[in-house]
C-alpha cells in the first residue's frame, strides 16, 4: 500500500513515501520519520514525487513530523509534491507552513 525509501544525502535525510499517505499509512510514516530524526537529527526532506494521495490523516502526519523535527532541533521540508498533494496543501493553507520545494536538491539546501 505504501513504501518508504530512506536515504542519506549531503545535507539531510530523504524519506520518500511511495503510494497513498492516508489514515491507514500515516502511523507508519510518523514512526519512520521519528526514527530518522532520532537517529540522524538535522534536516529531513520528504520526497513526495511518488505520493499519489494524502488525506487529512496524511496531512496531520506531515505536521506532526514537522513538529518532531523542530523539537529535535532540525527541520522537515517537502519536495516535489504531486498534483493532488499540491492542491490539498494549498486548499488548507498548509503550504504556508510546509512550503513545498520543487526538487529534493533544493529542499536539502534550504
Amino acid at each position: 500500500m505504501i513504501e518508504f525509501d530512506v536515504r542519506q544525502e549531503e545535507g539531510g535525510t530523504v524519506v520518500a513515501p511511495r503510494g497513498r499517505l492516508t489514515m491507514v499509512s500515516a502511523r507508519s510514516f510518523r514512526e519512520t520519520v521519528t526514527e530518522v530524526v532520532e537517529r540522524d537529527g538535522g534536516t529531513v526532506v520528504v520526497d513526495m514525487s511518488g505520493t499519489t494521495f494524502v488525506d487529512s490523516s496524511g496531512l496531520g502526519a506531515l505536521v506532526a513530523c514537522l513538529k518532531t523535527a523542530r523539537q529535535a532541533g532540525g527541520d522537515l521540508r517537502i519536495a516535489a509534491p504531486t498534483e493532488q498533494v499540491t492542491m490539498v496543501l494549498g486548499l488548507t493553507n498548509l503550504d504556508r507552513v510546509l512550503r513545498p520545494r520543487d526538487t529534493v536538491e533544493e529542499a536539502l539546501v534550504g
Binding site: 488525506d55 496531512l59 513538529k67 493553507n93
Partner: protein, 745 residues
Amino acid sequence: MRRPEPAPGRRRGTYVSPGATTGAEALDDRPRTSVDGTPWSPARAPEVQLRRGTDPMSTRATRPRRRAHARGRTGRTGRPVALPPRRVHAHRAPAPVTSWWRLALIRVIVLLTALLGLNYIVWRWLASVNWDSWWIAVPLVLAETFSLVDSLLFGLGAWRLRERGTAPPPDPEATVDVLVTTYDEPLDLVMRTARAAQRIRFPHATWILDDGDRPELRALAEAEGIGVVVRSSAWTADVPRHAKAGNLNNALMVTEGEFLLILDADQVPEPEILERTLGWFRDERVALVQTPQWFENTSESDPLGSQAPLFYGPIQQSKDGWNAAFFCGSNAILRREALMQLGVSRYVSEVTIAVHRAVRSSRRILDRALVAHRDEPRAVRALEEVSAALEELRGQVAEGEALADVTWAFQRRIDSVRRTLSDEDVAAMRADLAELAAMTDEPEALAAADEDAFAALGDADWSPLAAIESVSLLVSAFDVGREDEAQAIMPLATISVTEDMATSMRLHGLGWRSVYHDEVLAVGLAPEDLPTMLTQRLRWAQGTMQVLFRENPLLQRGMSWGQRLMYFSTMWSYLSGFAAVVYVAAPVLYLSFGVLPVEAFSLDFFARLVPFLVLNQLLFLVVAAGRPTWRGQQYSLALFPVWIRSVTTAFQNVYRGRSLGFAVTPKTRTTAHTRRWDLVRPQLVVMAALVVSLIVVGVRYAAGQAEGVAPLVNIAWVLFDLAVFSIVVRAVSYSGPPERGEEEA
C-alpha cells in the same frame, strides 16, 4: 433501412429431408442507428404514472422486429422525395377480421399436424434410430425434434391467428410525437422521411432524433419547422450511449406527446398512418401498435429476401392472438405512459437488486477490511461504525422501508463517520501547529490553523475513510442515482442490440397489451447488396439471442405461458442453423459413404413422415393465404452460418463479456459491384458436397451398387437442398434493383 424482416421463413417444421429447416424469423438489428442527444433540457421527466397495466393474463408474447441499418445505403439513398412507384404488391389494406371457418380450418390442420408430427417423432426415437451410426443418427433425430418443436410452436400461434381488420376511429384529443431516428444516414434520406412525417394528417409534432448531431441536418429541419433532438449533456463520454435505445430514451425526456410514432430514417410514412392506428389505443391497456415494414427498393423476385410477408402478417398475427405481437423498432406507435412505467419499474428493481447484493456482500467485505487494518485503531473504530450503519440499513431493508430513505440515512451516517475522522485529524493538526508557532515563533503556522481552510478535508474524496477502499466501493453501491448511466430511467431496454423485442417483452410482463395492425403504412429501403444484408441479419439474430440469454422469456413470470411461448418461438427459430448442418450432412453421408442414419427407408417410415410433411405444408399454405413463402424458407436454411454465428457470439457476449464483433460492415454499396463469394464460403462448400454426392451415387448406380428406395429418397433430398441453396448464388450476383428509369423504360 429498417430491418426488413428477416428470414421470414419461419416455416414450420419441415423435417427431414425436404423442407428441412425451419425458418428463422427475422431478426432485427438495431445497431447503429443511434441517437444522439440534443441539447435540450435533459430533465423534464415526464410524469410517470404507475398505473397498473392491465390484466397480465391477457398478454401473450410476441416478438419484435428489427430494422436494418442504414449505413449501407448510400448508393441510392439520396433519393428524392417523390416516392418511387411501388413495384411490390404490398398488402395495403388490412385483412378482414378472421372468419370463423378460416380459423376452424386452421385449427383442424394444426391439430392433425401436431398429432402426426408427434407420432412420427416418437417412432423415430423409439424404433428407427440406426444406433450403429449414432454419430449422425442422433444429430439427425435431434434436428428433426428441433423442427417438430418449431412446427408445434407455429401451430400454437396459428391456433389464435388474429386478423384484426380496421381500427376504431382515434380519440381526437390524443397528442402524438412522430420521432424519426437517424445516426449517419444521408440528409436527403432523413429529410424525405421527416417531410412525409410532417404531412401525416392527424395533429402531431415531428422530431428528428439526430444521434449524429449534424448542424446541416438541424438547419434543414428547423427551416421547415421540424424539431431536432440530440443527446442531452447527461450523455457524457463516461456513460454508455446504447445506440438507438439511448437515442429514444433521451428523446422521451424532452418530448411530451401521449403517443410516439417511431420511424427509422428510411421509413416514409403515409399521411393516414396515425388515423388508421391510433384507434387501437382506445383500449387503455394497449401499449403498442406495430405495423409492417415494407420495402420499395426490392425487385419482384427479391433475391435478398428483404420482404418479410410472413412475419409481417401471419406470424405477428399469430402472436397477436396471444397478446404477444412485438415491437420491431420502427413503424410502431407506443404509449408514453407504458414506457415510462416500464422505465420506472425497471429502475426500482435494478436499484433493489443492487442494494440487496451490496447488503449481502457487506459483512464479508467489512470483515476482510477489519483483518487488513487491525493494527490501526482508528481504522478499526471507523469500520465498526460503518458496520453498525450497515446493520441498521440491513434491518430497514428487511422491513421493506423505502430504499431511497434507507440509503439516504445510511449515506448520512457514513458522512458523519467521515467527518468525525477528519475532525480528529484537524484537531490534532491544529494543536501541532499551535505548538509549532509557540516553539518557533512562526505566525504563519498559527494562521494556517484556520478552521475554514480545513473544512474540505471532510469531503468524501479526501476523508480518511476513503483510505479503506473496499468501504468506498461498498458505500457507492448504495448510491441510488445510477451514476453509471446518463438517465436513471431507461424505458427502452438496453440489454440487447435488438432493444425493440426486449422492450415489448417487458411491457407484456407488466401486463400491457400489444396490437399488430396488418396494413402497410410506411415504406422503407432494404439493403441492396449481400454484405449489407448479411450484416443486418446477423445483428438481428445476435440481438434476439442476447435477449434469450439475458431474459429468457420462458422464465418471465409476468407473462402468460402463451406469451412466453410466442417470444420463445422466435428465439427457437434462430437455432435452426445447427439443424441445417445436419439436414445437409445426412444425405451427403448416405450417398457418398452409405451411412444410413435411420433403420430403413421403409414403408413404415414414409407412412409416418409423408402425411406429416404434407399437412405441415398445407398449414403453412393456409396460414400464409397467398403470401410468398419460398424465399423465406430458402434463407432460413441457406443462412445457417449466420444463425450459428449469432448464437455463439451472443453466448460469448452475454456470458464472457466479449464484444459481439462487427465483422462485415460494408460502408456503402460499391458502384463497381464486386461479387463477394467469400462471404458465402460455407454455403458454397455445402453445395459442392451436395453435387459431389450426386456424382458418387451416379457412379454407384453405374457399378450396380445402389438400389432400392433409399438412394432415391436421398437424391430427392439433395436436390431439394440444392434448390434451397441456389438462392445464395443469386444473392451474390445481385446488383441491386434496377434504377427506376430503367424499369419504367
